[in-house]
């Protein structure tokens, strides 16, 4: 795929956002034939590496979230020499730790008719038919083994009184297939993978480099050969070579500045891989969560997610009079606008995530928003408290009410919550084949870092499942197929490719440090976030995207002139770290816009305003857009090249997603 590219002329209408179309992707290595045996047959066809040879093979794993830690632990257990690089001070800090809800698995312990097929079907349909059938079926298949393994690690899952595992329903699924550990499922699963990795460290099979940030991927003759990494404590730049490189660096939701992501989450490793030739797939596929605590001021650094279950009993409203200054309890019933109940009488407050998110944005754009910034709506429990009593509401939402009060200083018992949508997860990421390998040989991407199995929309409790599926049960098999070809490769960091990558990395550092401006990195990041949120967020249109593209390009030019980064590169310098990450977000932002612009359809959680029914329902276009958009980097200010991987649906017939 990375060989010859026949390029069509630059697409010129309209003139601002441009790209070329390259060869389609024809070999995703996804097997064909009977769906249920595809993974088993594929595994049997993979090359193996004998135990005594595994010791001679070195693998770099970047990131230690659910994907990275589980992969590193499993590869260590197999006998490979694993080196793990994390920018955190410990591999236990990755953002997977913040996942609350649970992890899906097709165990059918409930006897409610769950099956691998049903989990596969729900995931394909939830992703609005923009994911590979082969991958999604495999994900559903290995989901059952994940639960077995995590229980064996001693993770204290929620249990029934009989001692067996408890499950709950989640995100609209009709089955109770979500396993959980109180409200801290991500934390417990991550600590399980972290502990497994620590065991491999103790056994000498893995080495963890904490406070080390990967700043470039080294590619030699089309193969990943290593990384350039900065020791964040001393500022030293190191070259590290390996037989294969695995990126498990998470998503890029922080491009929006305000998101539910952890502050340090960034796209640098994946973006640098992209600049070295790896395709970036569906970058505009971003999930926005409807119930988050809104921004309360300019100082705000992140948004906190509140469980979506709140909409089961809360009523969403805004004052009928725009800008009404009265506190909510003084606004009489007839002057409250329950806009969801009015617009969507059949579903009311329980419309799907994307509809609820867009409606909130719409009323706020119309000037009806509440709170100090006018970017929030009320979520009111007073009727539910009257109807069901405090005790019932406490049982259901007590901990969420406490969390809300802790953050905002307001009690949902006394006054309605204020909520607003926020960026939460990115379905897009590095393009990978069925083996989770990017189009660069020997470079793998797992977890949220790849373009994933979630299509254009991820279902709740599926992120943990995918991260662990990739790390525990898929990559350890597929990477062997490649490593078997690398046995006699002698590793060296004294090559031209390493030389160049190190030099370029140092130049990048120098470039941001030499700015003699007056503005801080955060000021630029906020500005970028606002452009993306306004034009490449909940709802998009060609005009807005075109504007956004120009704004980002202008912002990027100003960045290097106006940014001020104190300190040097030879010390612990958090602002330098931030400055490099924002520089990459500025480039990625352009690609997100280009992708959103090129996809002239509304699919998954993305509304292109030009493509909707008069009732505001999204219009998908399977005829033209049933493909993965994999973008190839061609240089700064050069139009990217679009490679289409067609998606065919042999087993599930694409239908229109309906909430009526």
């Amino acid at each position: 795929m990375s060989t010859t590219t026949i390029e069509s002329p630059v697409i010129t209408t309209p003139s601002v956002i441009t790209w070329r179309e390259g060869d389609p992707i024809t070999n995703s290595k996804a097997p064909s034939g009977d769906l249920s045996t595809r993974w088993a047959r594929h595994k049997d066809s993979l090359r193996l590496v004998a135990p005594h040879n595994k010791r001679k093979l070195e693998v770099i794993v970047v990131g230690a979230g659910l994907g990275g830690a589980s992969a590193a632990a499993s590869l260590g257990e197999l006998g490979y020499q694993v080196k793990v690089f994390v920018y955190h001070n410990s591999p236990r800090r990755a953002h997977s730790i913040a996942a609350q809800g649970g992890i899906n698995a097709a165990k059918n312990y409930r006897n409610d008719g769950d099956s691998i097929w049903r989990l596969f079907y729900d995931t394909i349909k939830g992703g609005d038919f923009r994911a590979r059938e082969s991958n999604v079926y495999r994900l559903a298949e290995v989901s059952v083994k994940i639960i077995d393994h995590c229980v064996a690690q001693g993770i204290p899952f929620a249990r029934e009184y009989g001692g067996l595992l408890d499950t709950r329903s989640f995100g609209g699924a009709q089955l109770m297939r979500t396993f959980y550990v109180r409200g801290q499922t991500g934390q417990q699963l991550l600590l399980g993978a972290y502990a497994a990795l620590q065991r491999q460290v103790a056994l000498g099979n893995a080495k963890v480099y904490h406070n080390h940030e990967v700043l470039d991927i080294v590619v030699e003759d089309g193969r990943a050969r290593g990384i350039i990494v900065r020791n964040l404590i001393t500022g030293e730049i190191h070259r590290v070579a390996a037989h294969a490189v695995v990126l498990a660096t998470g998503g890029y939701g922080n491009a929006y500045f305000l998101s539910t992501n952890a502050k340090l989450s960034n796209a640098t490793a994946t973006w640098r891989a992209h600049r070295r030739g790896a395709y970036f797939a569906n970058p505009s596929f971003v999930q926005i969560h409807p119930t988050c605590i809104p921004q309360s001021g300019e100082y705000q650094s992140k948004l906190t997610l509140m469980s979506e279950s709140l909409r089961n009993d809360g009523r969403v409203w805004v004052p009928r009079k725009a800008g009404d200054p009265r506190p909510p309890h003084q606004i009489p019933e007839e002057e409250r606008w329950y806009y969801l109940e009015e617009w969507y009488p059949s579903y009311g407050n329980l419309v799907p995530r994307d509809i609820a998110s867009r409606a909130a944005k719409r009323v706020c754009d119309m000037g009806y928003g509440v709170g100090p910034t006018g970017r929030a709506v009320y979520l009111d429990f007073s009727d539910a408290i009257k109807r069901l009593g405090r005790e019932v509401i406490y049982q259901r939402y007590g901990n969420l009410f406490e969390m809300y009060e802790e953050i905002t200083g307001e009690s949902p018992w006394e006054t309605p919550m204020r909520i607003y949508p926020a960026v939460h997860y990115t379905m897009g990421g590095l393009w990978v084949d069925y083996n989770l390998m990017t189009n660069i040989e020997g470079l793998y991407a797992i977890g949220e870092a790849n373009f994933s199995d979630h299509g254009a929309n991820r279902l709740g409790a599926s992120a943990l499942m995918q991260g662990l599926a990739d790390g525990y049960f898929i990559l350890p098999y597929t990477i062997g197929d490649y490593l078997a070809t690398q046995l006699f490769v002698k590793l060296s960091t004294e090559t031209a490719a390493f030389e160049d990558a190190e030099r370029e990395t140092k130049a990048r550092i120098q470039r941001v440090l030499s700015g003699k401006g007056t503005r801080t990195v955060d000021e630029f990041h906020r500005e970028l976030g606002k452009i993306l949120w306004d034009h490449c967020g909940l709802a998009r249109n060609a005009e807005g995207l075109t504007q956004a593209f120009q704004q980002i390009r202008a912002l990027r030019e100003r960045y290097y002139k106006e940014v001020l980064v104190p300190g040097t590169g030879q010390e612990f310098n958090q602002n330098l770290e931030k400055a490099l990450r924002v520089a990459d977000f500025l480039e990625l932002g352009e690609l997100m816009i280009t992708d959103a612009y090129h996809r002239e359809e509304s699919c998954g959680c993305h509304l292109r305003e030009e493509y909707q029914t008069p009732e505001g329902e999204p219009l998908r276009n399977d005829e033209k857009y049933a493909y993965v958009a994999a973008w190839e980097w061609k240089g700064e200010n050069e139009p990217p090249v679009l490679h289409k991987e067609p998606l065919t649906f042999e087993f599930v017939k694409p239908t229109t997603r309906s909430y009526k």
Partner: protein, 252 residues
């Protein structure tokens, strides 16, 4: 709101370090403590000064990255909460706030308020796991575990690894951290095969890292953001004595 901040500044591990005083103004009572420091840093950068280094990430109390010693207490004046979940409305307008790093011999300062807590990782490496390889697990429901046991184990497993227990302790003891893992795994049936060796190895590593001994003041549990109960330490003591004094029933 307006605050006077006395902040510990230390360029690197070799630098002796000192306090600097800063003023911040126009702080919203709804700003978090870390957001207040963000505001200070933006101001310092614009004035051409070095911003204050501090650890943070998730900013919702679960990653365990943040950890400041505020007005003489780990994670500040409120009990059982991380620094990132502390809001400025919990302080008085005009108050002078003293901000230091977590101080303990096994936590060398990296810069300003950032310390190296990798000693805690090494305690886990010594045995804080069940030795099970991927792929070999039996069906998850093949081993029933009473709900109260799983729930209790979770109370211990909830530890976020922030290390505040060490900073809160006058002996800089890592007992609560170590005990949380030992207690969690000694309750779960999966933890039984390595129960004896785990506690011995983890306690040994804790001592090797230079953490102090426990004198049962309970200061750790007051600050622990994950509310790990003090009973974990009693469990650790019991597990340790059992492993150290009683003969190993499986020894040859």
């Amino acid at each position: 709101m307006r605050f006077t901040l006395k902040v510990w500044r230390q360029k690197n591990a070799q630098d002796p370090g000192h306090f600097e005083t800063y003023e911040v103004d126009n702080i919203s009572p709804n700003a978090s403590f870390l957001e207040m420091l963000d505001v200070l840093n933006e101001k310092l950068i614009k004035a051409g000064k070095e911003p204050v280094a501090f650890d943070h990430d998730c900013r919702e109390g679960i990653c365990g990255s943040c950890g400041l010693f505020i007005n003489g207490r780990a994670h500040g004046p409120l009990p059982n909460i991380t620094t990132c979940r502390l809001y400025m409305r919990h302080f008085r307008d005009g108050e002078t706030i003293t901000i230091e790093p977590f101080r303990a011999k096994p936590y060398p300062v990296i810069r300003d308020l950032v310390v190296d807590r990798s000693a805690l990782d090494r305690i886990v490496q010594a045995g804080g796991y069940v030795s099970v390889n991927t792929g070999s697990a039996p069906d998850a429901n093949s081993l029933p575990i009473p709900k109260p046991v799983a729930d209790k184990a979770f109370d211990y497993a909830a530890c976020i690894g922030c290390g505040a227990c060490v900073a809160a302790c006058k002996n800089a003891s890592a007992m609560l951290f170590t005990a949380a893992k030992v207690a969690h795994l000694s309750l779960m049936p999966q933890g039984q095969p390595e129960r004896r060796s785990r506690v011995l190895k983890m306690v040994k590593q804790m001592d090797l890292e230079g953490f102090g001994h426990c004198t049962n003041t309970g200061a750790c549990a007051v600050e622990c953001p994950a509310k790990v109960p003090l009973s974990a330490i009693a469990t650790l003591q019991r597990e340790f004595l059992r492993a150290a004094l009683l003969p190993d029933p499986y020894a040859e």
